[in-house]
């Protein structure tokens, strides 16, 4: 993993997140700072291009609203749009390798690492918390781990990804644009109070 | 026409009110009229009234597909004001406001025009700039308008949220003291009674299904109660303007949208003016029954369903609770929607149509109620003389081709 430049500040750093613990903790909130995020646009009918990306460990989900879990996680955003999520600092490599792979083809690769931040919502009441402001059907049978959707959380646009948490249950990643991060965090933390809130830093 | 007064009321009390006669007749349609007005809302009834009263045209029928005043007249939030930006609209709405001021006596029917003042809130200096531009224009056009700073606003309407640290604190407001509210049903009923007394036939449950056009000239209308000949036809059907226009082979720059409103359960009056905010986006007044009468923006899609989305109700009551935190525990009693005819420039069309003898009065969008008397007055003039009154001359259909729009989005932004 690439070493992180200490001068970089995550969107929620100004919050100086104070760890809070509630017992029982219905909801556990944390910021996943600086995840690499590269937006990809191209025509996936082009099998050669798809293959070239796969060679880089960038495998497109076969279904809409799907996610391919790997070191380079690929989130479906639209018919010709995906978000490649990597460990912090890996975005540069993805950008450079992928643009070589797609050279000569109509495509767009855009570094959005700082455009978004990522908030992790875990715990038994995570779904109930999201349901306070998200119109999606988040039931496990409809939105299981490995799904992604773009929708609303309260008054804010988000990309919502569902993953397996340690305990084998589900947890959620919310990608929101940087300027909305603090508002979204406050909204989530306030809404989580009735369930018991733990903040992990 | 039996006169209404405290004395006739007392006299009738002695006979158990069994001797009152009907406020207007319900005659069967004749087979010919000089003028047929399509649409028995406030605007249509006012048009018929002024045709009879000021132009001596008394062989007039008002055709209403349902019951008079049953459309937007009976569904709106009854705000009356004239503080529009441009000269053309200022003249139109001020003409109307002046008629409002004498309407109860004119009609011998209490329309309860309550000049309790209308405030348009500004929440920052950018909004203030636009609102001040408007009140300067109002003043020069002879329309009363004044600027209230923050303290004056909170003094004039103490139930407003005066906390300076909220998201959009009160910065200031325009106030038109002559503005206010009126009793919507009374306007329809009062004009109906007045028009009827002058010989106008008011025909309900009579839906127009087509126009008879003979060599480019109107000859009459087809209705659910048979054909009716007419030398001239005036159409005032708000949300249904497009439907009628299509029958006449015309296209209009109008879309029909749902506009929702709601009232609270009746409360002891605590709010004695009308407050509107574009930024927080809602407006509110309290009726003489004690209900808070509330509305906001139109739904942004075409619909004739008189329904609209619940999200609009959510946003509206969010805005109301933000502006009036003490109303949070008050109950919503009833919500509903009208369908409004929205023009691209948020100004109406009151004009002759390409078909001779056919006139349309439409495009009032979310703010037609306030214009009821003036709209009827100038439309009657336009029909009687086959040419517009100077006041409605700018409000043509042709302006959309030439580009001479009257862009009143600012003055009409928060729907009312």
């Amino acid at each position: 993993m690439v070493e992180m430049d200490a001068r970089r500040r995550s969107a929620l750093a100004p919050l100086k997140l104070a760890p809070a613990t509630a017992d029982p903790a219905g909801v556990r909130l944390s910021e996943l700072a600086h995840l690499g995020k590269v937006n990809l646009r191209f025509d996936s009918a082009d099998q050669d291009a798809v293959a070239a990306l796969e060679a880089l460990g960038i495998q497109l989900p076969g279904e809409v609203n799907g996610v391919v879990a790997a070191d380079r996680r690929v989130l479906w955003l639209g018919p010709d749009e995906w978000l490649i999520v990597t460990a912090p600092g890996e975005e540069g490599a993805v950008l450079q390798q992928a643009s070589q792979a797609l050279a000569g083809r109509h495509h767009a690769l855009t570094d959005l690492t700082d455009n978004y931040t990522t908030i992790r919502v875990a715990g038994p009441s995570a779904e109930a918390l999201l349901a306070k402001g998200c119109p999606l059907d988040l039931h496990g049978s409809v939105f299981p781990a490995g799904r992604v959707a773009q929708s609303l959380i309260g008054a804010v646009d988000m990309i919502l990804e569902c993953l397996v948490d340690g305990a084998g249950g589900r947890m959620f990643l919310i990608f929101v644009r940087r300027s909305f991060a603090q508002y979204t965090w406050d909204w989530l933390a306030d809404g989580a109070l009735e369930f018991g809130l733990t903040i992990e830093v | 026409m039996p006169k209404y007064s405290i004395f006739t009321l007392a006299r009738n009390a002695l006979t158990g009110h069994e001797r009152w006669t009907e406020a207007w007749r319900s005659p069967p349609p004749k087979d010919h009229y000089d003028v047929v007005i399509v649409g028995g809302g406030g605007h249509g009834l006012a048009t018929a009234y002024y045709l009879a009263k000021e132009h001596g045209v008394r062989n007039v029928a008002v055709l209403e597909k349902g019951w008079i005043g049953g459309g937007n007249t009976g569904r709106n939030t009854t705000i009356v004001r004239s503080n529009y930006l441009y000269d053309e609209s200022g003249a139109l709405y001020e003409h109307s406001l002046k008629l409002w001021e004498g309407l109860t006596r004119e009609l011998n029917f209490n329309v309860m025009f309550s000049q309790r003042g209308v405030m348009n809130l500004a929440h920052d200096h950018h909004e203030a700039r636009d609102l001040k531009r408007r009140i300067h224009a109002n003043r020069l056009n002879g329309i009363d308008a004044e600027w209230l700073d923050r303290d004056a606003v909170l003094k004039f309407c103490p139930v407003l949220n005066g906390d300076p640290n909220i998201r959009y604190p009160v910065y200031g407001a325009t106030l038109q003291r002559r503005g206010g509210t009126a009793r919507h049903d009374a306007v329809a009923w009062g004009y109906a009674r007045g028009a009827d007394a002058l010989g106008v036939d008011i025909i309900q449950n009579c839906e127009v299904t087509g126009f008879d056009i003979d060599r480019g000239r109107i000859a009459g209308v087809q209705t659910s109660r048979g054909a009716i000949k007419a030398r001239k036809v005036g159409v005032v059907v708000a949300g249904n303007a497009g439907v009628l226009a299509k029958m006449a082979g015309l296209r209009l720059p109008i879309e029909t949208h749902p506009l929702q409103a709601l009232v609270s359960e009746p409360l002891k009056p605590v709010m004695h003016t009308v407050v509107m905010s574009n930024a927080v986006h809602a407006y509110c007044s309290q009726s003489d029954k004690g209900e808070l009468v509330i509305g906001a923006g139109a739904d942004l899609y075409v619909s004739y369903a008189q329904r609209g989305g619940f999200d609009v109700i959510e946003e509206t009551l969010t805005a109301i609770v933000e502006m009036f935190p003490i109303f949070s525990r008050v109950n919503m009693m009833r919500q509903w929607a009208g369908i409004v005819d929205i023009c691209p420039d948020a100004s109406p069309i009151i004009a002759k149509m390409p078909v001779a003898g056919l006139y349309f009065n439409c495009g009032w969008g979310t703010g037609g109620f306030k214009a009821t008397p003036g709209s009827g007055h100038v439309f009657a003039h336009t029909i009687a003389n086959d040419q517009p009154h100077p006041i409605n001359a700018p409000f043509t259909l042709e302006r959309f081709a030439s580009g001479a729009l009257v862009a009143e989005h600012g003055a009409a932004a928060v729907a009312h």
Binding site: V64, N65, L77, G78, P79, E81, P135, L136, A149, Q150, S151, L152, D157 | N240, G242, V243, K246, R251, L252, P253, I254, E255, T256, L300, Y301, V302, S303, Y304, A305, R307, G309, F310, D311, P344, F400, A401, S402
Partner: protein
């Protein structure tokens, strides 16, 4: 509160969408030589039907794609959603289904 089926993302709440007004409006091929009336018809005049309306919607809080939708403006039933470029929905050709019910 409608439920709209985005052709890409599937059924979603109306809140995620914004209506873009009437669809299939032809932009004059050569605006410069289009007369004022015809230009105004394109820019301002609308069909505004009481019945089947073919309109543009944008999944603005979702995948940001624009698409066509046919809706009955009296019942607000959705008759069809279809991609940009597809021929205008013909109410007589297709059987009506309610998206609200279908979900």
């Amino acid at each position: 509160m409608m439920q709209i089926t985005c052709p890409w993302c599937g059924p979603r709440d109306q809140r995620e969408f914004r209506c873009g007004g009437e669809a299939h409006i032809k932009r004059p091929a050569d605006p410069a030589s289009t007369d004022e009336a015809a230009w105004a018809d394109y820019v301002f005049m609308r069909t505004n039907p009481k019945g089947t309306h073919r309109e543009l919607w944008n999944h603005v809080h979702g995948c940001r794609r624009w698409f066509n939708m046919a809706r009955d403006t009296v019942s607000d039933r959705i008759l069809a959603v279809y991609a940009i470029g597809e021929p205008p929905f013909d109410p007589d050709a297709a059987p009506a289904t309610s998206e609200g019910a279908a979900q």
